[in-house]
Subunit: 386 residues, 2 copies
């Protein structure tokens, strides 16, 4: 099987446990930490005065499944949690990571911070500010190990002025993309609110890309994170729910006129699939026209045009995603590995790339694997010629 | 412009105001009724002991829009609420409706009940049973006026035995499709629960199709129905939210093994667009495989196959929908007019059909406009040859 290369629009790193050790004690105590319950059934996550319980996966996938288990952390059949932990540890070592990437055929990567999913329950501005700063120091150091690593800056979102300051600082430090959760932190207005306008302006001015990663809604202490439904089919159904947040975030930016006011802004939605793009484009246009009397603000172009021009999306395995480009015309479909997560392609990347692209014309294939990433990050070295 | 014909997988009728006049008083008093507030800002809807307030559209679309208005009932620019009311009244007259259909180039229609959006807040079994019976008598009478009318039976969902009985009765009466809300009524378990299994079996045994119509979640008395977000862009954003319920309903039926156990069951999702189908198919497969250790029940085939074979979807204007068929291979994409609603194509159906299909191969065009409907309802007379 001929090796084909791809850049990844969606990869991850898990920060080391001692990331916050140098922060003042009153800040450090409010950062996320996990305590496993002795029963082995759940862990409790403490963060900024809140407490969350999260189901733990069955330790042995061959044992009977727990009743009503939502399945959001379960591994594929034939793998175990230990496989994942090993991969995370190895992926934190830049040299080992590059070896993994070379073997898989992945060239450069957008790398999201691992603590992201919990960071958005922080409600104290100083905690968010110093926590993001610590994460960004780690990310910047990691990024310096190889030009193939494009780490995301974490943005403090409790106070929009802090967000603007960190975007500016991070851009100067060499970050090319800032990570945002698909929904603002607990208690903050939605992204269509004008309170966020200075932040969009800062992204536009610095030229930093915006990276929304799915599954990053702030968690609700009164229900298990990520569990929307239980019972029959829950593992698949909860997985589906994770995609909607990314769609909501970008359609808010379009409908509220943010992308209209900032035509240079480019927004990536990672891990949510790609074929939703043409679908949402059509749906926005229909709502915009058919409920036109209530549309506010009116836009210079149809909503679909902003999505086709300024929104990007990464997928892993989706068989329909290449046709979202060649048949539906969305040029911004890109591939992503989701390394090192269970939802990703680690261990079968070449098989997946061949299945996806062997029957697709070379222009489309190159665009999705290589070209979109290069358009978003022109300063990153080019992938090896095949 | 050459006239092209299409069947509609999504049309509506609004029941007359006196529909429930012959029901016993204690039932009649619990059926939906609307009282407009003298301010003109909202209406109050009373139903089975619950009370909902709903924003009313601005009477004149040229006047300044109300702050924070969610836009869910707003007309297109250049039309008014009166246009809609006239169309509804005319559409309730079978002869006038057929005249409208002929002018628009619409042949046969799946016709949904108008009270559906409120019926799913009924929590009293007897009210649901007798209310559906009255709606079905009206629908059956309407259906008898033309073989081009395929009215939906309303199914009482407070008690699953009532649902089974009404499905059997309605099938014997000549109904070809039963309407279900995308989410079960207030207080009832989700569709993935085994409590509903006798109902799916009844649909399968009678051969009646299942018609999910989007926007039919039970309403929550503590927030305005249909308003998920306010402020900038809300009209478009709330319109987007309406599509997710249909996706949830069919993915529950797939993931819970319902379509696996009943391969003869055919499920239509109306008005939610169509390109979501290939997207959801891919996403289900990824969740099913990558979180395989938690998957329960396991299925005989991949989730995508049930969607491609047993799930159907109707769209109105979506430019990408034909390619969901010819490029992504989902043969079950069908067109729908949404007559007489604002979201629909009334007054511009021929323009829409030409825009959608003039550049599409004839096989795909015929399948989406005509063939899918004929597959679902083979007893309905064929559309005129073009």
């Amino acid at each position: 099987m001929k090796k084909i290369w791809a850049n990844s629009g969606d990869s991850h790193i898990i920060e080391p446990m001692d990331l916050f050790k140098d922060l003042p004690e009153h800040i450090r105590d409010r950062m996320p930490r996990s305590v496993k319950d002795p029963s082995g059934l759940f862990e409790t996550i403490y963060i900024d005065g809140q407490e969350f319980r999260r189901d733990m996966p069955a330790p042995d996938p061959n044992k009977p499944k727990k009743k009503g288990f939502g399945g959001i952390n379960a591994p594929p059949v034939g793998t175990t949690d230990d496989d994942f932990i090993t991969r995370v540890i190895e992926g934190n070592d830049p040299e080992h990571r590059l070896k993994d990437l070379d073997e898989e055929g992945v060239w450069a990567e957008v790398i999201y911070p691992g603590l992201g999913i919990w960071a958005f329950n922080i409600r104290t501005a100083e905690v968010a500010r110093l926590g993001c700063r610590a994460m960004n120091e780690f990310a910047l150091d990691f990024q310096s190990k190889s030009p193939r690593f494009v780490n995301c800056a974490s943005i403090p979102l409790v106070d929009v002025d802090d967000a603007v300051a960190e975007i500016t600082r991070c851009s100067n430090d060499g970050f090319l993309i800032g990570f945002l959760p698909v929904k603002p932190p607990a208690g903050r207005p939605e992204y269509n609110d004008d309170e966020w306008d200075p932040m969009w302006a800062a992204f536009a001015e610095t030229g930093m890309r915006i990276g929304f990663h799915i599954g990053t809604e702030p968690n609700d202490p009164i229900r298990r994170p990520g569990i929307y439904i239980r019972g029959r089919g829950a593992a698949v159904l909860n997985y589906i729910e994770t995609t909607y947040g990314g769609q909501r975030a970008v359609t808010q930016l379009i409908s509220a006129g943010v992308l209209d006011r900032h035509p240079e802004l480019k927004v990536l939605v990672s891990e949510g699939g790609a074929t939703w793009g043409p679908f949402m484009a059509d749906r926005m246009d229909e709502g915009y026209r058919q409920h036109g009397a209530a549309v506010k603000p009116t836009l210079s172009k149809l909503p679909s045009q902003y999505l086709y021009e300024q929104v990007y999306a990464s997928f892993q395995h989706d068989a329909s995603a290449p046709a979202a480009n060649w048949a539906m015309g969305w040029q911004n479909v890109m591939w992503g590995s989701d390394y090192p997560h269970f939802e990703g392609t680690f261990g079968h990347t070449q098989k997946t790339l061949h299945e996806l692209f062997d029957d697709v014309d070379e222009k489309t294939s190159h665009r999705i694997r290589i070209g979109v990433f290069e358009e978003l990050f022109p300063s990153v070295p080019k992938a090896p010629t095949e």
